[in-house]
Symmetry: D2
Subunit: 294 residues, 4 copies
């Protein structure tokens, strides 16, 4: 569980949990809310027929004395979470999530994330952007985000880059790593170290295309839709749990270059949504699937 | 509350309710579920900042003895619903909703509803189609649905038609009236009599167009999107609470006739979704808005 | 070139052609239109950077004497089509295309095609539906379309079914074969015999899934979009030139059964568009791609 | 006709024209292309049944001697454009269009246009941003675009602002004025002066809402779609010819603030497309409609 920011009378808490499904869970959790002097402002739940697990996300506000609500709520929750052997997490709503961005040459995703963060539309803070290219440096500087460049010209430099990622995660107490078109394949060790807290974005087509230059392949096959998928990073390349997907319509007259541009727009849109849902504690893992509590 | 169909071990109950928002509601309701020996299979809730009301939809299954669950649950619910002065409704999941369809000349909505009902995709039963034209008679016959034609050539015939609607509602214990492109304006008295249980479908454009032949107007203004809106019937013509909307993209090359065809496809799709959500008790009224618990 | 229906003053002709791209093609073709006393009502063209070929679709009306326009136009076209070694085709607009439908158990695509044909929204005539199941028989009868059932319980019956397909194509002078969820794999010989005139529809996901029960796989992976692809049949299973694709949005709460229903709606919509474009001579082949002149 | 940039062997020319429809137009135009030693790379045309006018957009490349193609083509076109009394315009493809941006407090449209211009995705140059607020100054500076602030606190200052707009149009030889959420109502005189070369963006709903705070109204009515419309400025407020529209789906759980954010994303996307099509000479006026040659 995270350290929680100072509480005001407007503070809302967000509780996310999962456990084996069974009778009485909602009653027990809502009892803890009542016992702590809280009120449920928003609640979503889902029972997975696939895994037999129960998932819940609650937003709770204190009816009085918000400064001590957290300890009261934690106290009331403890016997419930123990009885049902719950995985759970308590956080405050709108707390910016400490996010490390990994980039390469493409600017569209980084620019979109930083523009929205500055406009108060994305509850993240970005203590660092790490990139193996210089391309996004001026964007980082415009948005006052520290930028660090480390070239990757050989396997040793790739290992050093990954070591720096893990070091930065430690140093800045990073909660989320965003691969914003970071075009390097992560080592299995790094994938494992970041499991459940690293989000990747890639293009998506119907049908899928293997190998180099997928937009060119998509053009050659004359696809009518191009899209993007945001997913958690796992050791199984591009096969991690899907968070969000979207597509746009194209036709035979689009050049491969136009397909790339439209695909990049989709990537930025889809990644932005995925990051926002993560930062708002709206994504729960159900085996190979995600539950998104929008 | 409706009479509920015979219960099997697979039966699920659906409880919908609303009341003034406040602490403890979820705990009280989930307590009634536990007390009755039930388990929550699906749950959604929403607190409206606009009206200060709380809305909830629960699907509940009996842990044991389903044949007596309804009376146990009702018993356990009563003190809760009284304490919070709840509007509530208990029904069984998948019970076909008794639906009266009103039609005129257009066939697309009627055909779509009956095709899906027959395929088991729409939990409605249709004891009667009433129409002021003969056009949908053969479709009704193909799908074994009683059809009744009554011409409307003058105000007296319109009054007689409306009287027949109310009589049919009574006679068949109708729960939902669907205006499937029934092109007559309902009298204020009929609107009032059917409030909250009559759904209308109409075309929608950006911007909206007043007056006759809106597709021609849409063509002349060169709109790029055409769509449809399903809403509850109120005395305020076409201004009732919105249930569902959707659009499709068009361009300058579409003739008014093509716009009409695409608009009809959207009407059928949008109306079908609205009817389905009504039949599944997924629509709750929050003042002039609908809460849709998908 | 097809035999063309009797011409009235309203008749429009549609000319589609392709050839190696180069200067002067449009001028030569439009010269033939002028020489024949025609007027271009609609025209689209595309030069493929991939194959170096030029594609064109023209709708032409006779300024006078429509009854002899076809022969005048053909006469004027001949030297042009010979000079540029064009593939070309002259047809009349709105002539119903003779279509053979192959079906199995699913009804949604057949129902959609026949409903729209009856409503005058789809310029096809259907002299026969061939199916290895009885499921669509009553729909065929309702729409007055001949229906023939032939079981496929073993390889010999499959061969017999395919022989009957080719015989029916011959017998009814079939121009288009629609696989409306015909769940058998066509033999390479039949694929080859029907190349360029057989359209198949299948579900599409991001990512694609191999093997049985793709909707269940899609559910397990938690995809956020499901869709459908209509394509020409080639010997390369499900890899023929794409004609049309579309998707709908889903989330974790959809059961595999709901995914199937939504997927079927998409299949019917996508197939209907592909059949309509074929019937209106709007699809031209550019290697592995289709050019769609909407 | 514009002054045209220096020509290279890669230069393509774009010809747009309209005239009263009739036989022989395409033949005459394509004859001029052939006579000038050109080749048609892309061509679109449309005959409007509403106004009886014919519209065409051609991209042409020189088979040889590109440096003199423009004069050869103009010479060959002259008798044709005179005979058919055409409105026409010859330009080069990819020439950046001189664009004046008007802004107020909102940053999202300005940021999107400048980001894409820098990335080479939008063929515009922006010699000046004029704003009645300071909000976009730092974005303008980041993208090296001159920014000028003039407060509008009273009618006299509004008149002065508008006079500065006309002066800037003159001074910078402006071809396109983009109202990127410029929240002032233009005077009829300015609308008239900029007719056909000023694009505005505004939010769009189904149904439309009049008066202040439309997002709040949309929330209160529970709309399921919110969108944006880009249109040419005319003296008829927000009723000019529509260029592009799009929508996104929302539900009851979206706060008015979330609706505003989603609406702004749509505004930026829709405006960007409209500006791009204008810059590529893809928009032709057909009375109150636009023809978009995508």
């Amino acid at each position: 569980m995270n350290t929680i920011a100072p509480h005001t009378t407007d503070t809302q808490w967000v509780l996310t949990l999962s456990c084996v499904d069974g009778p009485g869970i909602v009653h027990a959790i809502s009892g803890a809310v009542v016992a702590a002097g809280g009120n449920i402002a928003e609640s979503q739940q889902f029972a997975s027929a696939d895994t037999g697990r129960f998932f819940m996300r609650l937003q709770v506000e204190a009816v009085a004395q918000p400064e001590t609500f957290e300890s009261r709520f934690t106290l009331a929750l403890t016997p419930v979470t123990e009885r049902y052997q719950m995985s759970w997490r308590l956080d405050t709503v709108d707390r910016p999530v400490r996010t490390l961005i990994l980039a390469s040459t493409a600017t569209h995703c980084v620019n979109d994330l930083l523009y929205r963060r500055r406009g108060g539309q994305l509850p993240i803070e970005v203590p660092l952007i790490l990139s193996n290219h210089e391309t996004v440096r001026d964007i980082a500087e415009f948005y006052d985000v520290p930028f660090e460049h480390r070239a990757i010209a050989n396997p040793a430099e790739r290992d050093a880059f990954e070591a720096r990622v893990l070091e930065a995660v430690e140093e800045h107490d990073i909660e989320l790593v965003v691969l914003a078109r970071y075009m390097q394949i992560l080592s299995p060790a790094l994938c494992a170290a970041l499991e459940g807290r690293a989000i990747n974005i890639h293009h998506s087509f119907l049908p899928g295309f293997k190998g180099a230059n997928p937009y060119k392949q998509a053009h050659q096959r004359g696809v009518k839709l191009i899209g993007a998928t945001a997913h958690f990073v796992t050791t199984d390349l591009d096969e991690g749990p899907i968070i969000e997907q979207d597509v746009v319509r194209v036709d035979h007259s689009y050049s491969p270059r136009e397909l790339v541009q439209l695909g990049q727009d989709e990537e930025a849109r889809v990644l932005r949504r995925a990051v926002n849902w993560f930062a708002e504690n709206r994504i729960l893992a159900d085996g190979a699937r995600t539950i998104i509590f929008r």
